[in-house]
Symmetry: C3
Subunit: 281 residues, 3 copies
């Protein structure tokens, strides 16, 4: 698969879309730095006193359920409704859905109430939202969140079901990433296992996806969302590969890898994404 | 302009002033690390249950309005009033003022209620507080927050007006930094554009400024605040320049730059600040 | 002293225990990254809506009182009681006890209510909890939190007293770390002064200690907790030493050191811990 918008990152860097991130306090700094490194402009605000106003001024909204509280959830609802009215893209990350029932219920409610553009989660989280029993998975997503031959069909069906239920493009990240809308899916085979040994790689992809969705287009179509979500997953995975190359050369560990991941996203080009993306249909 | 207190950093490292930072959760870790690297001692506490007590034990207070909430604002008021009674320096950073009305109103109220020593913000934020119409600016400060020849006069007037209204020294950061009190201003031409490609460079300067203000002096005068604010801006900008030198040599990106910025502030000397400061009156 | 469980880190990496961290927003990202780098699996959740459920699914609980609020404290109580019922190890870090009375009271209440496995703090914090007058110390722990010959006896007595009162193993960190139960103590002489020039080194040790306690054992005995707390302190200190070696070679400062600390914990082996641990009985 060849990516059609072959200068998306360049346009992102020219337009510097403002992305409103309502995210957890564990990785908020990393998400802001990742967006800035990529060329976008992050703004973090999660009080109900200003969530709507900030969203209205931005070009995309990230709702990430890590370290969720009742107050933050209420503010997310306000921001999400405002984004919906304005037609701004919403990226929902149901962190911990399937593990903790507060998160599962919150994620389901937001999926029901908001016209999300993208829902991004690991296997356990997406299965939990697609209303398949996730009894086999529990909170410890780590051990199962791989897309291997055995569970590929099951994962693809769950992602497509959630896409149908929600109207969103579903991005299920794991060893490979599976991107699905209601009719089709593809796999992105970029990335490196070190991305699971730092916190926030998923949250960074949330932000990057929203930033790509925030780049202006002539006419909004579902297909664009699908393709840009694929573009974001491929770019993010490639940044992980570039970071690992440097880390290995420096005989570094996860600290060096973390630093190199930001380096990569600040330096990567559309050309590198086009050349390096490994997309399987 | 020659900086008069030519051993301020050395004294900071000897005294290790405790600085109470009431700041956003996005950059709190970076601010703490920046203060520790410089040689000061940070303490973060934002519950109304302890804000006053912590402020009383500290030698300076930072009020940064990022990720503001009603609860945090209430605690800031308590801490600010305690600091005022005790004569401790207060550094206010009106993050997002001019963009979101909750922040604009909160910032204006704090300026009115508290005897801030320093107010530090970008062009949009300072214009919003100086009560000039900021309709031209909006939340997307990034595109306009440069001090170029065209808008220098307007910026200087706004900063001086805010200084007069508030009694504070005003630090307006951008491509150059403008530091003003009610009668005069100067420009600090240190720094590097990479500082805008990481989150929190402004927040780190808030902390560093408070730390310099927390170093003991014989007799408190307005002039000292002005000069120490200049010293902090010059030192911070120089750290950015040093970080960029190393980043470039390593062919790194924003991740490497971020790491090198902490290295720089942990290593820089008063001599380097004196030699490297580019101050225009 | 030879450490008995000489493959504890290897087992940690095999089992990847899930550790529920209720911690401050300043260092939460670093704690998550440190746990992931070591090989454990962190989960951060601090709403009363889910604290119990998350704790029940985890193998260890960290209660760190940095940036404490009433809401977080209430959620900590719920999680702590659930962990107690289930027999999960609890690591309490009384950040700021002895400095701010809200923290001192909260820490004392939690020590009284919960069967903590480990209480870890600096000298001032442990003295404050052991109910010795801490008038000499105040919030500025930095200047006094060294274990030197003069105050060793006093520190050891305070730690043993707190161990007796609480039933916990007490870890008092400083220039050397003192680990005590009600009958004995030992000193761990690993680490590097740079660990005090970054924020969160103590919080990272909280997490690492909980992760080691979360590795399965046949039969739970007090002695195991003591030995694993020693193992964690030695491993953590050695990581600091390894990080300093690399930092020095690179002529880096605190930024490089911070990065190298994560590298170290992601690379260190049981063999290195066994060989490098300097434990004095």
């Amino acid at each position: 698969m060849r990516l059609k918008e072959d200068n998306l990152l360049e346009r992102l860097r020219r337009e510097r879309p403002l992305i409103h991130c309502m995210t957890n306090y564990v990785t908020a700094g990393d998400v802001a730095n990742y967006l800035l490194a990529a060329g976008a402009s992050p703004v973090m605000a999660d009080s109900a006193r200003e969530a709507e106003e900030v969203t209205a001024a931005a070009r995309g909204l990230v709702l990430n359920l890590g370290t969720l509280s009742d107050e933050k959830l209420a503010a997310m609802r306000l921001a999400g409704k405002k984004a919906a009215v304005l037609g701004h893209p919403i990226v929902l990350d149901p962190v911990g859905a399937g593990g903790a029932s507060f998160r599962t219920e919150a994620a389901k409610a937001l999926v029901h109430e908001l016209p999300c553009s993208v829902i991004r989660g690991n296997v356990s989280e997406i299965l939990a939202l697609s209303e398949e029993s996730s009894a086999l998975y529990g909170v410890d997503a780590g051990k199962k969140d791989e897309l291997d031959r055995k569970n590929l069909e099951r994962c693809a069906k769950a992602a497509e079901r959630l896409a149908r239920m929600s109207g969103a493009v579903v991005v299920m990240t794991g060893k490979k990433d599976l991107i699905a809308d209601e009719n089709r899916y593809c796999l992105v085979d970029n990335g490196h296992p070190m991305m699971k040994r730092i916190t926030g790689a998923g949250c960074m992809l949330d932000g990057l996806t929203a930033a790509f969705l925030g780049v202006s287009i002539e006419e909004k179509k579902r297909e664009w969302v699908f393709e840009r979500a694929v573009y974001a997953a491929a770019a993010h995975g490639l940044c992980g590969e570039m970071a690992w190359e440097k880390t290995e050369a420096a005989k570094g560990g996860t600290g060096t890898f973390h630093t190199c991941l930001f380096d990569a996203v600040s330096i990567i080009t559309d050309h590198q994404i086009q050349e390096g993306a490994r997309i399987e249909i």
